[in-house]
């Protein structure tokens, strides 16, 4: 057993951190939150680092590294609340194609994703219901898509979406649809975290292409499991940064003649954040391993990673604000960037409630077998 990252991966991490500290500053996140358009220069700079192609095999234009390497990058992106469609494009759209497209489609579509010249996103949710094989109402008639997806994250900057739909036989399928075409209406909507664009996307007999490799709801479950592991690293990165901010501030801020960090109320709060983060981290490491090497373990490992990462990020981001007192509640301080992202990531791939249910269901089935 080796439950840590390799030296090369640690090197990748420090390289990523240096790069992001320089190019992806809180000021950039704040600007985007405040309505600045998608920062294509930043996206291109990230693309030039090769990160989007990390886990894409070399024959499709990627680096052919592992998902574990991608997890390292995810954590660093989460740490700086990167205002880029990385999870939509490099986890969800990319993996949907890797898992469900045929050879011709992979060859045609993956190189653009790997070099960042094309951005993809994933259109699953259709409203307040937890997405499932039962709730998908968008239809695919073999050539065109019809239906409404809400919300679609990053639809403002994505070139195409991988759309979950129902075909004429009622089967769940994945289709690729260009978002920049007349039969697709994209209506921007406000979210708790506008550093990532959100939209209501309506397909009105929009031409689309079926991902011809695999179909069925189980493909989507596997895809989401993988994304959940990667996102859990983003959450841990953000939670860790929240803890560091709280620690730094509590060393510097004084009340009643003492550093606030000298009060046990604050010490215990920070210790609890740390415990939540380390619990999530350990679960996420196992998730990363399962994503790369242990498909049979993935459903359980992904659920555990996701549930604990949602909890850690929520707790750390809200208590970071609390530790800052009044300034934590201001737009000017960066605490809220993390709190917002925590709220977004907690529902992006399904709420913890749904994952808890799935986790126990999987364990139940496994014990029955």
């Amino acid at each position: 057993m080796n439950f840590d990252f390799s030296d090369e991966q640690q090197e990748l991490r420090s390289q990523a951190r240096r790069f992001l500290e320089k190019h992806c500053t809180p000021a950039k996140v704040n600007a985007r939150l405040d309505g600045a358009p998608f920062d294509r220069t930043l996206w291109q700079a990230i693309a030039d680092m090769g990160w989007m192609g990390t886990a894409i095999p070399e024959e499709y234009g990627g680096l052919g590294l592992s998902y574990i390497d991608l997890c390292v990058i995810a954590e660093e992106l989460g740490r700086c609340v990167a205002p880029v469609p990385f999870s939509s494009s490099a986890y969800l759209a990319t993996n949907a194609i890797l898992q469900a497209a045929d050879e011709r489609q992979k060859t045609a579509w993956l190189p653009g994703l790997a070099d960042g010249s094309v951005i993809g996103t994933f259109a699953l949710s259709e409203g307040t219901a937890a997405p499932s094989a039962k709730t998908i109402g968008t239809t695919f008639d073999g050539k065109t898509l019809s239906g409404t997806k809400l919300p679609v994250i990053d639809a403002d900057c994505a070139d195409f979406a991988i759309v979950v739909a129902r075909d004429s036989q009622g089967r769940i399928v994945l289709c690729r649809a260009d978002l920049r075409q007349p039969a697709v209406a994209i209506e921007a909507v406000d979210s708790v975290d506008d550093s990532r664009g959100h939209a209501k996307v309506t397909f009105n007999r929009a031409p689309a292409e079926l991902l011809a490799g695999q179909t069925g709801w189980s493909v989507i479950e596997t895809l989401i499991d993988g994304a959940a592991v990667l996102v859990s690293f983003e959450q841990i990165g953000g939670a860790q940064r929240s803890l560091e901010m709280a620690r730094d501030y509590s060393l510097q801020r004084r009340s009643f003649g003492r550093q606030i960090g000298s009060y046990q109320a604050i010490k215990h709060k920070l210790a609890d954040m740390w415990i939540a983060i380390e619990t999530a981290r350990s679960n996420a490491y196992y998730g990363a391993w399962a994503l790369q090497n242990g498909p049979a373990e993935l459903p359980v490992a992904a659920a555990a990673a996701r549930i604990s990462a949602c909890e850690a990020y929520w707790f750390a981001s809200k208590e970071n604000i609390q530790t800052h007192g009044g300034v934590g509640f201001t737009w000017e301080f960066d605490c809220h960037l993390y709190y917002r992202r925590a709220a977004l990531l907690a529902v992006m791939l399904g709420s913890p409630r749904i994952w808890k249910d799935r986790l126990i269901q999987t364990l139940e089935q496994r014990n029955a077998a």
């Binding site: 699953l124 949710s125 409203g127 307040t128 219901a129 937890a130 997405p131 499932s132 039962k134 709730t135 809400l150 919300p151 909507v189 406000d190 979210s191 708790v192 975290d193 959100h198 209501k200 004084r254 009340s255 009643f256 003649g257 003492r258 009060y263 109320a265 604050i266 709060k269 929520w314 809200k318 604000i321 609390q322 007192g325 009044g326 934590g328 509640f329 201001t330 737009w331 000017e332 605490c335 809220h336 709190y339 917002r340 709220a343 977004l344 907690a346 529902v347 992006m348 399904g350 709420s351 913890p352 409630r353 749904i354």
Partner: protein, 408 residues
């Protein structure tokens, strides 16, 4: 003990209901929050108008003496009013700080003439008040404040800065604590005033909150003159007056702000989950029950406080629990309610979520509730030390002259 209304209370409740029915729109299955938000500029005239109507109907300052426009009723009548009003959509009260804290302080410390001048306009919503206590380096530790007051003839000259002053940008008057003598230990050299917020030398800069509205401000004082007649309490006795203001703040805690149990219950009644109606789901029922119990616990605790008050006892530090529980409950319900909406739980657009996205919108406001009016860390210490009699925190700065503290 009797939880049913006395005949007088029942008559008052009926009066309040009749007033609300005639003048406000009840909350509904689709809307539980007033359509114009606190942060919006349109809100102010609406809030004033609502206050005026209530005052005309004799429903403001219920427990105050009659000569100031009150009705000299026991405090429990305010609870009855708040309870009934919480079923209606009404503008956010910009008068809570004035009526809940500043005016009660005036009642205790101002002259008869001043009370006659100021109470009426505050009751009728004509004048708005704010509380100028916190400073950049004096929040939890408000007695560490540095804003200076220096006597000059019949006036005091004020220099310094306050921060987090809710509503300063639309307030007419404010209550202010200052340091008049830095050679004394920090609680001893303070002096308390009320002042006109339009005085020359005051600069107000709104601060943007994480919710994107700007309800609180930085307030800068440059040679601002306040007549000595507007001093409340003796020179150097400002801490005593400030504590009286803060005591009243505890009482001002009303029905917990939305989203509360009722909002979540409404949401769940409308929502279909993967296994049927949300209200049939065991986890949802478990959560709802917990929050109901908390809400009722706080409601009845408030009744007990009011009973104690009507017997002439002063509100003790016990009321700190209301703030701790309500603020955390609000944040937890906002999160739970948002997450129940799955991926749409991140959308704040009122048109796209049930109950006009009350859950998502509250997510970004709730963190402030846990900080404003005393943080929960401070309030827990208050409960431990003053209710339970546990040993006090070691205080390193208590008896040292204030001017020497900065050097440390």
């Amino acid at each position: 003990m009797d939880f049913s209304d006395t005949p007088e209370e029942a008559a008052f409740r009926a009066e309040v209901r009749a007033f609300l029915e005639a003048n406000a729109e009840p909350k509904s299955e689709t809307r539980t929050v007033y359509p114009v938000s606190y942060g919006s500029l349109d809100m102010l005239p609406l809030a004033r108008e609502w206050q005026r109507k209530k005052a005309e109907a004799g429903l403001v300052g219920l427990s105050w003496p009659k000569q100031y426009g009150g009705r000299a009723l026991p405090q429990i009548y305010q609870v009855i009013f708040d309870q009934e009003q919480s079923n209606y959509l009404v503008p956010h009260s910009v008068f809570d700080i004035g009526l809940g804290m500043c005016i009660p302080t005036m009642m205790t410390f101002a002259t008869e003439e001043q009370k006659t001048r100021f109470v009426g306009p505050a009751v009728r919503g004509e004048e708005i008040w704010c509380q100028l206590f916190s400073e950049p380096a004096a929040g939890s530790d408000v007695a560490a404040l540095q804003t200076r007051s220096v006597k000059d003839g019949d006036d005091w000259v004020i220099n310094g800065q306050k921060i987090w002053t809710s509503g300063a940008h639309f307030s007419d008057w404010g209550v202010l604590v200052t340091r008049s003598d830095p050679s004394l230990p920090k609680h001893k050299g303070l002096t308390f005033f009320f002042l006109n917020m339009k005085s020359p030398g005051i600069t107000i800069k709104p601060i943007r909150q994480i919710s994107d509205s700007s309800n609180f401000n930085e307030v800068f004082f440059t040679d601002v003159r306040i007549p000595d007649a507007q001093r409340l309490g003796a020179v150097g006795d400002g801490w005593k007056v400030a504590v009286a203001t803060l005591m009243n703040e505890r009482l001002a805690v009303g029905e917990s702000r939305e989203p509360n149990f009722a909002d979540l219950f409404r949401l769940c009644r409308q929502l279909e989950l993967e296994d049927g109606p949300a209200l049939r789901n065991a986890l949802i029922r478990d959560k709802l029950a917990d929050w109901y119990v908390q809400q009722q616990g706080m409601r009845f605790t408030r009744f007990r406080t009011m009973t104690a008050l009507s017997r002439g006892q002063t509100p003790g530090p016990e009321s700190s629990m209301l703030k701790i529980v309500n603020a955390n409950k609000r944040q937890a319900i906002a999160r739970f309610g948002s997450e129940l909406l799955e991926m749409t739980g991140s959308l704040v657009d009122p048109g796209l979520s049930p109950l006009k996205a009350v859950m998502q919108q509250a997510l970004l406001d709730a963190p402030g509730t846990r900080i404003g009016g005393g943080t929960e860390e401070i309030l827990r210490t208050v409960i431990a030390e003053r209710v339970l009699g546990m040993p006090a925190e070691i205080r390193v700065d208590k008896d040292i002259p204030f001017k020497d503290l900065a050097k440390q």
